[in-house]
């Protein structure tokens, strides 16, 4: 059996990836090194998704394989997990909307692309997002919404960010099934991503530019 965990994970070979992780751990390998290998595999998954070779099911499946590997490895971990270095991004589905599939994919893609992601979940009240910006010092916020009611909730959230005096140093991207350039204008956002890949590109542009 090949011992390349990153490759097995990137190729979505679940049983093989889990077996390699287990073997390495049994052979006394450093748990942190195993997680790093898994991280490299996930990066490849992200790249393949960006290129249109992988689709949503592949992302979800890779996430589940990673979860199994984490369950085996994490109990043996002594130190903490390495910090992400790509910059901080806050992601939330806006107030009134409880959809999470799209948001979760964006979180996943930002995470495997090296960003430190604050996933606030769904139906997040306007004020909580403002507080999170203050608390984390994050300069990029991604607002998600699937329903048309999200248009107003996004607008209200962005208005509240302005009112708190944070708008100038905060870039806001929006996304969701019914988001278009018209909605960017309506809500006062900076841009929208038509999919998770565009969301990552926006975050990268804004955080690298700083």
């Amino acid at each position: 059996m090949a011992k390349d965990l990153a490759k097995a994970l990137a190729d979505l070979k679940e049983d093989e990836a889990v077996a390699i992780a287990r073997e390495k751990l049994d052979a006394g390998a450093d748990p942190m090194g195993i997680l790093n290998d898994a991280g490299k595999g996930m990066e490849v998954v992200g790249v393949r998704f960006s290129k249109g070779e992988y689709f949503i099911p592949d992302l979800v499946y890779s996430g589940e394989i990673l979860k199994r590997i984490n369950e085996i490895v994490k109990p043996k971990l002594t130190g903490g997990v390495a910090k992400k270095t790509g910059g901080k991004v806050i992601i939330a589905t806006v107030a009134g909307d409880i959809h999470d599939i799209g948001k979760d994919i964006v979180v996943f893609m930002l995470d495997v692309s090296g960003f430190e992601v604050y996933d606030m979940g769904v139906d997040v009240p306007v004020q909580k997002i403002v507080e999170k910006i203050k608390e984390t010092g994050s300069t990029v916020v991604g607002l998600s919404g699937f329903l048309t009611l999200a248009y107003d909730a996004m607008k209200q959230t962005i208005d509240a960010i302005s009112k708190a005096g944070l708008r100038e140093k905060t870039k806001v991207m929006i996304g969701g099934g019914q988001i278009t350039q018209e909605i960017v204008k309506y809500t006062g956002a900076d841009a929208y991503g038509k999919d998770a890949v565009e969301g990552v590109a926006l975050a990268r542009k804004w955080l690298v530019a700083k």
């Binding site: 599939i101 329903l147 009611l149 019914q178």
Partner: protein
Amino acid sequence: MVKQWEEMTPAEKRQDLDSKWLSPPEAKYANAEAEKEYKARVQRIMDAVNMKKPDRVPIVPMVGFFGAYISGLTPYDAMYDYDKLMSSFSKFVLEYKPDAHVSVTVSPPGKLHDIIDYKLYAWPGHGVAKEHSYQCLEGEYMKANEYDALIDDPTYYFLTGWLPRVMGALDGLKMLSPFTNMTEMYGGFTGAAFVPFGLPPVKAALKALSDAGDEALKWIQTVGAFGASMTAAGFPGFFGGGTKVSFDTIGDTLRGTKGIIMDMYRQPAKLMRAMEQLTPIMVKMGVANAKLNGCPIVFIPLHKGADGFLNDEQFKKFYWPALRDLMEGLVKEGCIPFPWAEGGYNSRLKVIKDSPKGKVIWGFDTTDMAEAKRILGDVCCIVGNMSIATLSVGTPEDVKNSVKKLIADCAKGGGYIMMSGAVIEDAPPANVKMFIDATKELGVYK
């Protein structure tokens, strides 16, 4: 002699449903003008469905609680007060005059769902603000290891496995034994099979079912009264019934998105087998209501086959065969399948070209509509694509421009019905009015 339904050919069944739609036997029109308008509207839609040129492009806005909003009411009001449901939804149809209405069934009975302690959705006043519509709460209501139970006996599985999880008040149904055990008195078969009905949790579940049934009866009277009153005023209903493709049945409300994705990788054969088992049941669900309502169009909202949600290979293996079987089953029963592709379907157009020719209508949300017309133009009628974003935040002028573009892209030669790409909720009334009026103005075939 009149042929029984079972003896009719698919074409005869279709003709039967078409004629009931065009001339409902029980219709009581307000006046001769209303009757004339009713028939003209159905004929307009039928011509488009049959890929002929109608007098003009039919317009059927897919509205949710729009009627409630323009009446100063909330979705909560409509779901809990059937008089308000009736008056507000009527107001929309009578004042805006679309070519068909989409019934009041979009507003489910709120109290019924309180009674059964429904877990599958959050709804106004119950997990969602009263001002907003209901939303699905996805979960693994069916476990990964329950495929055999579902495949062996779907009804028994729904009754004892799935319902108790999604309806808290029906928890006692877990204790039921299969009804197929009640074969005969000899040997105590019947006696044993009835034991669960004496147990308190089962009795509590039956009481909840009975109370929910009382509420359903009140609601369905409003549904019926609304339909009859719209017919009287000259407005036909667009939908005969609704159903789902088995991949979405399993992926939306049984296993959930993540669950069905894992099943495609970990137990594809069981997933396929379960879909095969469910498809005939899904066909019957659509046909039963189409026959009851005397209208052939069967709505099939499509979810998990959209661009990006499956790769091409997965779409062709898991989704498309199930959808095609469903559509063929419906066509055999005289129905017109109306798959409604939520999201984008650009990568699927060449595959779905293999739909039963001239027998279905394909609805689109954000798909490139000129491309849809190019690829499907000689296969079937296409529907939809008016941007919900433009309807929600654009100006009436923006809406008119979009209508103009859609007509230019899709209406040539007939075979197009104007519809919003997604459900219209709290959109500006002036935009919805322009959407309808502009189609009537610009959609005339010369």
